[in-house]
């Protein structure tokens, strides 16, 4: 039973923003209509950052998700998780259309990816 994680592509808003900011999405390397990316590939590619957009926003669900990821030996050994680059994105900026707050969405993401620019 999967933890419910789906790999997303450019048709997803957060992925589009990440794309614009010059990142490479490991899921987009393998074109497919499916969204259940094999754990084996995630381990092999060992991404620098993992961004998560949750469907719900209850703190309990997010905590359970984070705890599950950190405890899971397959996820827990990824560099992104070890280095704390496993990031749950705020829903209002990356799941709903941000409308007037597009700049905020980009800024939020850029601060994570390129902290040196904002210093």
């Amino acid at each position: 039973m999967s933890s419910g994680a789906k790999a997303k592509y450019d048709d997803n808003m957060a992925c589009k923003i990440l794309d614009d900011l010059g990142t490479t999405n490991i899921a987009a390397k393998h074109e497919s209509l499916l969204e259940d990316l094999s754990m084996e590939i995630i381990i092999q590619e060992d991404p620098e950052y993992i961004f998560v957009v949750t469907m719900g926003d209850s703190e309990k669900a997010i905590n359970a998700l984070k705890e599950g990821i950190e405890k899971d030996p397959a996820w827990g050994n990824l560099s992104a998780v070890k280095n704390g680059n496993y990031i749950v994105l705020p829903k209002e900026l990356f799941h709903y259309k941000p409308n007037a707050k597009w700049s905020e969405s980009y800024e939020y993401m850029a601060k994570i990816l390129y902290p040196e620019i904002f210093q």
Binding site: M1, H30, L34, Q44, G56, K71, A74
Partner: protein
């Protein structure tokens, strides 16, 4: 006309003799070992066999090969073996004890009961995933008992057991759907849970259900002779000194424990619990002392092979194993039915 005499293993061993059954079990054990080796060597990432062996030998936690083998492929292989054997044996018990060839964990309501409590726990108590196998067992047992008592009230005919199973399943299924709809962010992937699959299993999550499954299998093997007596009919079994009601209750409980444990980590895998017992009976007949081990082995092999396909067909993406199972299992079951109609099945 062929000059070769028609060779039949069954005739060679004199079908249903101990040596024939022993031969079938030995063959299945070898097949299971081969399937397990294939399952560990093949996956969505291509790793040469030599590299796998050296990774297992060196056990270097930082090696990606070791991580893939140890944290992804081995847990998945074990999960497929455990789920396949427990659901198949659960189906065999239900069919034997309810004296109904249509009985299986998903039709009698065990799956839906276990699934409902699994979803409920994951949605409202995401931190307590350890209780899931226990809750799944309780849910499965309650569902099967409700079905059994409804069927008894209405005369316990073969049809009424199946019909009340369908009714109870669909009612509990609606409750499961309600929870999944109201709690889309629960720790469960709706589609994968409803179809059944093994992505994301870890050794940690398998430990509890594995203990339950091994315990239940041992008890079933001890009870298998009594189950044979029960299959002769309630009156005969009573006259032979069997406490019919107690044995039937115990067997239903074990069937629920087996199916519930599997569902707690694999989701609602349905079909395997129906077809594997039939295929096993085709091989070794009705004697539960042989049927149960054959069922366990055949169920594991079938599930393992389906899971390899689920991982490899669309690599590096995966599809839930339940899809493959139904694609392969459906036509095979129709084949068995047609054979039975001709009066060839079961010797």
């Amino acid at each position: 006309m062929s000059i070769w005499p028609k060779f039949s293993i069954q005739k060679f061993f004199n079908k249903n003799s101990g040596s024939y059954n022993g031969f079938v079990i030995a063959l299945l054990i070898i097949l299971l070992i081969i399937a397990a080796i294939i399952s560990i060597s093949i996956g969505s990432s291509k790793i040469p066999v030599g590299q796998i062996i050296s990774a297992l030998y060196h056990r270097d936690i930082n090696s990606k090969t070791y991580q893939i083998i140890n944290f992804v492929r081995i847990p998945r292989t074990l999960a497929a073996i455990l789920a396949g054997c427990s659901l198949s044996v659960s189906g065999a018990i239900l069919q034997s004890v309810l004296n109904n060839s249509l009985a299986s964990p998903n039709i009698i309501g065990v799956n839906s009961g276990a699934g409902f409590l699994t979803v409920l726990i994951s949605a409202f108590f995401p931190a307590s995933l350890y209780f899931v196998p226990l809750a799944a067992f309780i849910g499965g047992l309650m569902a099967v008992l409700i079905v059994f008592f409804i069927a008894q009230k209405t005369g316990a005919s073969r049809i009424s057991i199946v019909l009340s199973g369908v009714a109870v399943s669909s009612f509990i299924g609606a409750m499961t759907d309600t929870v999944l709809t109201l709690h889309p962010d629960s720790a469960i992937d709706r589609a994968v849970f409803l179809i059944g699959g093994f992505s994301g299993v870890t050794m940690e999550r398998l430990a509890f259900p594995a203990g339950f499954i091994v315990l239940a299998l041992v008890i079933v093997l001890i009870l298998s002779y009594d189950m044979n007596v029960l299959a002769l009919g309630d009156e005969t079994a009573k006259s032979l000194g069997l406490t019919v009601a107690r044995l039937r209750f115990l067997c239903l409980g074990i069937a629920a424990l087996l199916a519930g444990s599997a569902i707690s980590f694999a989701g609602l895998l349905g079909f395997v619990g129906l077809i594997v017992p039939h295929a096993s009976r085709f091989l070794v007949g009705y004697d539960n002392r042989f049927l149960i081990p054959v069922c366990a082995l055949l169920g594991s092999i079938f599930t393992l092979c389906c899971d390899v396909l689920a991982r490899v067909l669309f690599a590096p993406f995966e599809i839930p194993v339940g899809i493959i199972m139904s694609f392969l299992g459906g036509p095979f079951f129709i084949y068995l039915l047609l054979k039975r109609k001709k009066g060839k099945l079961y010797g």
